[in-house]
């Protein structure tokens, strides 16, 4: 049973990691806690739902959902944040404006589509499960595990080793200096928004697939965990978010399995407060970011 519980934890953790990738990327580069991120997650799941219902296969619906939510991210970013960026408003202002926007978006979606839970048609993915001794894993879960590995790997490569990544890192370090060195900071911002939106959208599809629960507020629920994961991993640290996501999943599952299921959620936040107390730069982080 412990083996299955550990697998449960890792798979749950993989969904957290998948969700947190783009979230930590936007923070790392744009220095913005963008709460509309949860909405891109919802949007991706709904785009895939519409497409697969119309008969499109997952191989096409998944990238389409990612691109679609990436575009939504770029549009929302332009509408909400460009103005603040230009005015050099502080990070709290952007947090608040995205908070208001995401509330309005979830509510508008509920008004338009209703609050009902939907699921992707079963036909998009085999319902069989892999049985290894005492452990069972479904295909959707395997897909998530694979996707997290590929996406996190790709993202790390993009940021660390590509030419574009150099620009991204320069902007993350100091947008003004990057601008002086001929890097088009605005273009990088658009690109990062698109990337994070696409990551969120893909995450929404895969997690909606694994848990069979697509509804307008799905992003909001995930957002709270997203906070925990990016803080545990260190704000802006992609690799850290990945590890922190997995860790959080395992801790939650083990709490529910061996302590008390009622405290499953609370343990995540207790862990968060503990980490902020002792290692504020995250579990794997460098010295704490002392600002003031």
């Amino acid at each position: 049973m412990l083996a299955q519980q550990l697998v449960n934890g890792l798979l749950l953790g993989a969904t957290y990691a998948l969700f947190a990738l783009g979230f930590t990327l936007t923070f790392g580069v744009l220095r913005v806690i963008n709460l509309t991120y949860g909405f891109y997650f919802t949007a991706g799941a709904f785009i895939a739902w519409y497409l697969t219902r119309g008969g499109t296969g997952l191989a096409l619906a998944l990238p389409a959902a990612a691109i679609g939510s990436g575009i939504i991210a770029v549009i929302l970013d332009a509408l909400l944040l460009t103005r603040l960026r230009r005015a050099r408003a502080d990070e709290l202002a952007s947090l608040m404006v995205t908070l208001g926007a995401v509330l309005a978006l979830y509510a508008a979606m509920t008004a338009l589509l209703g609050p009902d839970i939907r699921r992707l048609p079963q036909s998009v993915l085999g319902s069989g499960a892999l049985v290894l001794g005492p452990v069972r894993v479904t295909q959707a879960q395997l897909l998530i595990l694979g996707a997290v590995t590929v996406l996190a790997g790709g993202l790390v490569w993009l940021v660390r080793f590509s030419r574009l990544g150099l620009g991204i890192r320069a902007v993350a370090e100091n947008p003004d200096a990057a601008g002086l060195m001929g890097i088009d900071a605005a273009r990088i911002a658009v690109l990062v928004s698109f990337l994070s939106g696409a990551l969120a959208g893909a995450g929404g599809v895969l997690i909606g697939l694994a848990f069979n629960a697509i509804q307008p507020y799905m992003g909001e629920q995930m957002m709270l965990r997203g906070f925990v994961v990016v803080i545990l991993g260190g704000l802006g640290d992609i690799f850290g978010a990945m590890l922190a996501g997995l860790l959080l999943g395992v801790v939650e599952v083990l709490t529910a399995a061996y302590l008390a299921s009622g405290f499953k959620e609370a343990v995540a936040f207790a862990l968060l407060v503990l980490v902020l107390w002792t290692r504020p730069a995250g579990l794997f982080g460098r010295p704490p970011p002392r600002r003031a």
Binding site: M96, L103, A107, I231, L235, F269, V273, L276, P280, R290
Partner: protein, 280 residues
């Protein structure tokens, strides 16, 4: 009192209570924001005040005049415990730590049977009349106004502008931050105790993330130029859903849009006039 007036008061009693309580909550948010910090734990602090005071009333049968002044004790304790360690970090950490506090407390309320679980606590004596709520609100406004005009107010404004400059100017930033957080938790605790003793029933879902967000939007819409601004913001956002009741889901949309437009186009809030300072 003529019958039409008592009827009118009765019809809108809950709204009038909410106006006063939300005004207090907006002030509790204001105290933090005015010092350049962001807390999303105001709902949690309110809940601590509400639960602690409700338990004192229900289990120990203490009179409300004793319970109310004690209601800030528990929230302030938690504020120091959670806020203290994050104060040397950037504002985002405090925001997230306070969200964490809210979620942990929610799990505690739900899982501890003595706290009623999901059923909450009911039968709380209705000991907080309207006039008391507004008296506390007025007193808080007065105190914050006086403090805002003083040296402390200037220090807070300096921290809001740029904490490092404030530090260089000799402001003890950490001490101010901790003090403002504690004061804010105390106000939220009072608001919690008052609202618990004005409706008779409290439950864990009253103090979740959504409540924290609405409290933030009160202060945001009003702005933090003076203590009156967030109270006005709270009034607008408390009355708006009532006025829009017929619109069902759309009123949540409008509520969110109000926040967006306020931040984008009214960065200083709907009441930007600042208070005049006394001479140094």
């Amino acid at each position: 009192m003529p019958p039409w007036l008592s009827d009118l008061l009765w019809t809108y009693q809950n709204v009038l209570v909410a106006l006063g309580v939300n005004g207090l909550l907006a002030l509790s948010m204001y105290v933090v924001l005015a010092a350049g910090q962001l807390s999303l734990g105001q709902a949690a602090f309110m809940g601590l005040g509400a639960y602690a005071s409700a338990l004192l009333s229900l289990r120990l049968h203490w009179p409300f005049w004793l319970v109310l002044p004690l209601s800030p004790v528990v929230p302030v304790g938690f504020a120091l415990l959670v806020g203290g360690p994050t104060l040397r970090l950037s504002g985002i950490y405090l925001a997230i730590a306070t969200i964490g506090l809210g979620e942990v407390l929610r799990a505690v309320y739900l899982n501890v049977d003595a706290l009623g679980g999901a059923l909450g606590l009911s039968g709380i004596p209705e000991a907080a009349p309207l006039w008391l709520i507004y008296l506390v609100l007025a007193a808080s406004l007065f105190v914050l106004w006086q403090v805002g005009r003083s040296r402390i107010g200037r220090a807070m404004e300096a921290m809001r502008g740029d904490a490092r400059t404030a530090l260089a100017m000799g402001v003890n930033v950490r001490r101010y931050r901790l003090a403002t957080l504690a004061a804010s938790a105390a106000l939220a605790g009072l608001a919690g105790a008052l609202s618990a003793h004005a409706t008779d029933f409290i439950g864990p879902s009253d103090y979740g993330f959504e409540t924290a967000v609405s409290i933030l939007s009160f202060a945001l819409l009003g702005g933090v130029a003076s203590p009156f601004a967030p109270v006005l913001g709270a009034a607008v956002l408390t009355l708006l859903p009532e006025a829009l009741r017929g619109f069902a889901d759309l009123r949540l949309v409008l509520n969110g849009l109000v926040i967006v437009l306020a931040v984008l186009f009214l960065p200083r809030g709907i009441l930007p006039w600042r208070m005049r300072r006394s001479a140094a």
